[in-house]
């Protein structure tokens, strides 16, 4: 992170700009996305450049926004919908589950919906209630949706381009507290192109254990891995990038190589993405596991007020504690022992 460089917000903006430029079917729509450029400025300048039909302010009605986008996609356009905040996508839940996810299936493939639904999600920004939900657990349990979430600036650009180009509906979860993180990335740079949706990436190799994470928790995990190194543990970090499709291959390879895994995410643990990940790893890597898969997640409470959110979110210490608890042979065994159990699970 340098003070020069590109923010995730800028990369997303660029991705939208390029998508609008390259394909006349692409239409951006949502609350305040036009004149204002979105409350996070992700659509800044797009209405001015492409006109307010291609980047349209809509009435304040999320079900109507998504439902209208469904109709536009039925006509052959590629709508990119912005939901202003995670919790404000809930009014559109019926449209999402009963239509967006099912339209291709209901019509035997005759009405695919090339729709992208951008949702700024997660906490850590000191937002008032309903502004910090991690809602990926609802979406990933809904067959027919792809669920994608970038953790880096380059992925933000690459995955959003992939999402918009996809013929499947994609719920594109943007870790809002990473919007202003700068990285040394430019759209014209020589960065490796982002692979198709559905591939995880090992952000850091490690021989002793692997942290499995995505979106806003990636930096936490990288920091925890650094700290673990100081304790003599070589911990890898895997960034899932997409929850659906799920990259069993990469995940299982990482787990089998180390025999120890911790899953980290902000959402409440109970019934969250971490449950699926831990369950799959348990099913597929059972004989390779040296310790139970641990989950470090948000608590099973409604998202707390700003002054309390640090106690809710998985921080470096909690991740580190979980790593220490992975039933190491006594030489490396850390101070916290006992029956394994997970925070937030």
């Amino acid at each position: 992170m340098t003070s020069r460089g590109t923010t995730m917000a800028e990369a997303l903006n660029t991705a939208l700009r390029h998508a609008l430029r390259d394909d006349p079917a692409v239409h951006v729509m949502g609350e305040d996305v036009g004149t204002l450029g979105g409350v996070f400025r992700i659509t800044d300048g797009l209405a001015a450049e492409f006109g307010d039909a291609r980047c349209a302010d809509t009435p304040l009605a999320e079900s109507g926004i998504l439902g209208t986008a469904v109709g536009m996609a039925m006509y052959g356009l590629r709508p990119v919908v912005e939901m202003q905040f995670d919790a404000f996508a809930y009014p559109a839940f019926e449209q999402l589950v009963s239509h967006v996810a099912k339209m291709r299936n209901r019509t035997r493939g005759r009405l695919p919906l090339p729709l992208t639904i951008r949702v700024p999600y997660g906490g850590g920004i000191g937002g008032v209630e309903h502004h910090s939900d991690s809602s990926e657990g609802y979406y990933l349990h809904t067959p027919g949706l792809h669920v994608v979430t970038p953790a880096t600036v380059g992925d933000a650009y690459g995955l959003l381009r992939r999402a918009i180009a996809s013929d499947d509906p994609v719920v594109f979860l943007e870790p809002k507290r990473r919007y202003w993180t700068k990285e040394d990335w430019s759209p014209d740079g020589p960065a490796a192109p982002v692979p198709p949706i559905g591939r995880a990436v090992l952000r850091r190799p490690g021989t002793d254990a692997v942290l499995i994470t995505y979106g806003p928790s990636l930096p936490v995990c990288l920091e925890a891995a650094d700290a673990a190194r100081e304790e003599g543990l070589d911990v890898g970090v895997l960034d899932l990038r997409s929850l659906v499709p799920f990259d069993d291959e990469t995940v299982c390879a990482a787990v089998r190589a180390t025999g120890r895994a911790v899953v980290v995410h902000e959402a409440s643990g109970f019934g969250g993405a971490g449950a699926e990940i831990a369950a799959r790893v348990g099913e597929r890597c059972f004989h390779h596991l040296e310790a139970p898969v641990r989950r470090v997640t948000g608590l099973d409470v409604p998202y707390p007020a700003p002054l309390l959110e640090r106690h809710h979110l998985p921080g470096v210490d909690r991740v580190l504690d979980a790593v220490r608890d992975l039933q190491w042979p006594s030489a490396t065994r850390a101070r916290h022992g006992g029956e394994p159990y997970a925070v937030g699970a």
């Binding site: 239409h27 039909a53 809509t58 009435p59 009605a61 079900s63 109507g64 998504l66 439902g67 209208t68 986008a69 469904v70 109709g71 536009m72 996609a73 039925m74 006509y75 052959g76 356009l77 709508p79 009014p91 019926e94 449209q95 009963s98 239509h99 099912k102 339209m103 291709r104 299936n105 209901r106 019509t107 035997r108 493939g109 005759r110 009405l111 695919p112 067959p143 027919g144 792809h146 996809s166 013929d167 499947d168 559905g198 659906v244 499709p245 799920f246 069993d248 291959e249």
Partner: protein, 373 residues
């Protein structure tokens, strides 16, 4: 102080000068043609076409209901009594227009030219949508109430943005107008002035719930003004009036005049579906009163009085109805072909690896099943 006093006002200018609401409000009485002098001016060819569709449509409803009794259809939400709305909706559209039906609107879909057996796929149980929506420009029969209304707005809006002069006609029941999606669809339609027409078939009930428990609005057509969308009420058992009102609204939309909300007053003579027991919530008397307003009879009465329904025309309509019904009986009697592997075919453009595993597993199960037979 009372409200009275506050309504005195001097130089007060409204700060958001609204449009004139008057043209948005429905007339005091529903539009009618049959039984009025206007009926004599209607093109006889149109009347005969409407008549043939009504006769075939009535037969379709009866045949489909009979098929539920024989266990050939799992369920059928009959539109008997509402055929005028169904037929008029289909015939008011041009080929490039789109129709957005509900579960009750199978007849409108058939009248638009979709194969009746494909139309009944949902209710027969072999798949969800049986016909090709793009080919026929008919959206899937929609079950979650009012959720298809924003789709119609979006499609119409997209077409307009693309310079395509098609119109979308979306159907809903009276109950469906209470859903938030009705409100949001009308709001978007009003703001975008998308070329979309909403037809509310007000049959007086949402399953068992009568209109008076559904809304306190003077009429459903009055809902339009809240969206800047003109509301029109029409006698829903007068097929000529419904066809006229819808055609006018469709052509108005096509020529850039914006959306219209049409409320058709009608009645379903059958229960909600064959699984429903309508005697629990409505009287025989009421049904009888509405039987007297039968849309098929009403058109026939006019045609006879106008000398437009000779024996041959009547015979031909009945013959077309019988041919359709016989074809339906025969084809629906055949076991529908289903392929369990299709379960995985349309979830995504490319099946995920997980679905591939599940598919392989099911294939193995089916092989085992076949082997043990």
């Amino acid at each position: 102080m009372t409200l009275q006093q506050t309504t005195e006002r001097a130089a007060a200018e409204p700060r958001t000068p609204g449009r004139d609401p008057a043209p948005l409000l429905p007339d005091r009485r529903p539009a009618r043609v049959l039984g009025t002098p206007a009926a004599d001016a209607v093109d006889p060819a149109l009347l005969r076409e409407l008549h043939r569709h009504l006769v075939v449509g009535r037969r379709f409803n009866e045949q489909a209901t009979a098929l539920t009794r024989q266990g050939r259809l799992a369920v059928y939400p009959s539109s008997r009594g509402q055929e005028a709305c169904q037929v008029a909706a289909a015939l008011a559209l041009r080929p490039r227009d789109w129709l957005f039906p509900t579960y009750r609107d199978t007849l409108a879909v058939v009248a638009r030219g979709v194969d009746p057996v494909e139309t009944l796929t949902l209710l027969r149980g072999d798949w969800h949508t049986g016909y090709d929506p793009v080919e026929h420009r008919v959206a899937p029969l929609c079950t979650p109430l009012a959720t298809h209304l924003p789709h119609a707005v979006g499609l119409a809006h997209a077409a307009r943005l693309s310079g395509d002069d098609l119109v979308a006609l979306a159907l809903t029941g009276d109950g469906g107008t209470s859903e938030g999606d009705f409100h949001e669809a009308l709001t978007f339609a009003g703001v975008t002035r998308a070329p979309v027409v909403f037809l509310v078939q007000n049959n007086g009930y949402a399953i068992s719930v009568p209109l008076a428990k559904q809304t306190a609005a003077p009429t459903l057509a009055h809902k339009g003004v809240g969206y800047g969308v003109p509301g029109v009420q029409v006698d829903g058992n007068d097929v000529v009036a419904v066809h006229g009102v819808l055609s006018a609204a469709v052509e108005r939309a096509r020529s850039g005049g914006g959306p219209t909300l049409v409320e058709a007053l009608t009645y379903r003579l059958d229960a909600h579906t064959n699984a429903d027991d309508a005697a629990r919530y409505r009287s025989d008397d009421e049904v009888e009163r509405w039987r007297a307003e039968d849309p098929v009879t009403r058109l026939e009465t006019h045609l006879r009085a106008a000398g437009l329904l000779d024996e041959e025309t009547g015979r031909q309509a009945l013959a077309a109805a019988e041919t359709m019904a016989a074809d339906l009986r025969r084809r629906v009697a055949e076991e529908p072909a289903v392929d369990p592997m299709e379960l995985f075919a349309h979830v995504y453009a490319t099946p995920t690896a997980q679905l591939g595993e599940q598919r392989a597993r099911l294939a193995a199960e089916l092989r085992a099943e076949a082997g043990s037979r």
